[in-house]
């Protein structure tokens, strides 16, 4: 049973990543915390990961749906579509 809590750095950081989205399970988080007690690298990773999540939230903006095709692009598309319609 005891061994179940032991995870490696790859697993620990994977849980840390999942946790950034609030989707790590309680068991995941227990294992992660156990690991962080003994691993300074993953501890640094965790700290930096939180900071990066803050940056992502602050600096990356979602597509707002305002992207449009230009009239020329639509014209070209229209022509291709007409050709295709004639074929079918």
């Amino acid at each position: 049973m005891g061994m179940k809590f032991m995870i490696n750095c790859d697993e620990a950081t994977a849980i840390c990543d999942k946790n950034q989205y609030g989707e790590a399970s309680i068991m995941d988080k227990i294992c992660l915390n156990f690991h962080l007690v003994v691993c300074k690298y993953c501890k640094a990773y965790t700290k930096q990961n939180h900071l990066m999540s803050q940056w992502f939230g602050k600096y990356l903006t979602p597509c707002d749906g305002s992207e449009k095709l230009s009239p020329e692009e639509k014209q070209k598309l229209e022509e291709k579509l007409q050709k295709e319609l004639e074929k079918n």
Partner: protein, 189 residues
Amino acid sequence: MSENAKHTLDPNKWIELYADYLHNYAITRVDGHELAKDLVQETFFSGIKGKDNFRGQASERTWLVSILKRKIIDHYRRLNSAKGQQEIRMSFYEEGKKKGNWIEERVPQSWGNEASKEIENDELKEALETCIKNLPEKYRMVFLLKTVQQYETDEICNELDITPSNLWVIIHRARLQLRNCMEKKWFNH
């Protein structure tokens, strides 16, 4: 229109009615204006070829979106099979005996006084964007869908036809690379 009226197709109006809508739909899910445009074009072509299969139960727009969804899944499948596998993936962890331990020269370095660095907002944004651009296409898109567009895990899995464990592996690798890239770009290690 009565409730029982069946929907009909009128391809002559597709561009006018749906081109922008479909393009917008695609652009949040694939990488870039051109690729989105190509997928919209393919969607219209498939629509014309398959117009006899349209049974009129869904609206014209819903039907076209369902074709586009398929195109998006196919696009990511193609990435998996050909180009995706050629992309060099940086590994961060040991194999073999020490499997899963950090590779020594890839361990996270101290970022020093992080707060004082953050004053340069525009530069930070630019560094983030550059690092994201450097990700392999599939990683980038899954990462953006989850982190920026904030889609539910199930929804992304559905739309890209991947499993949740796939998704988390991709997110993990994307974030490992992003952290490493920011360390080099931003903290000059």
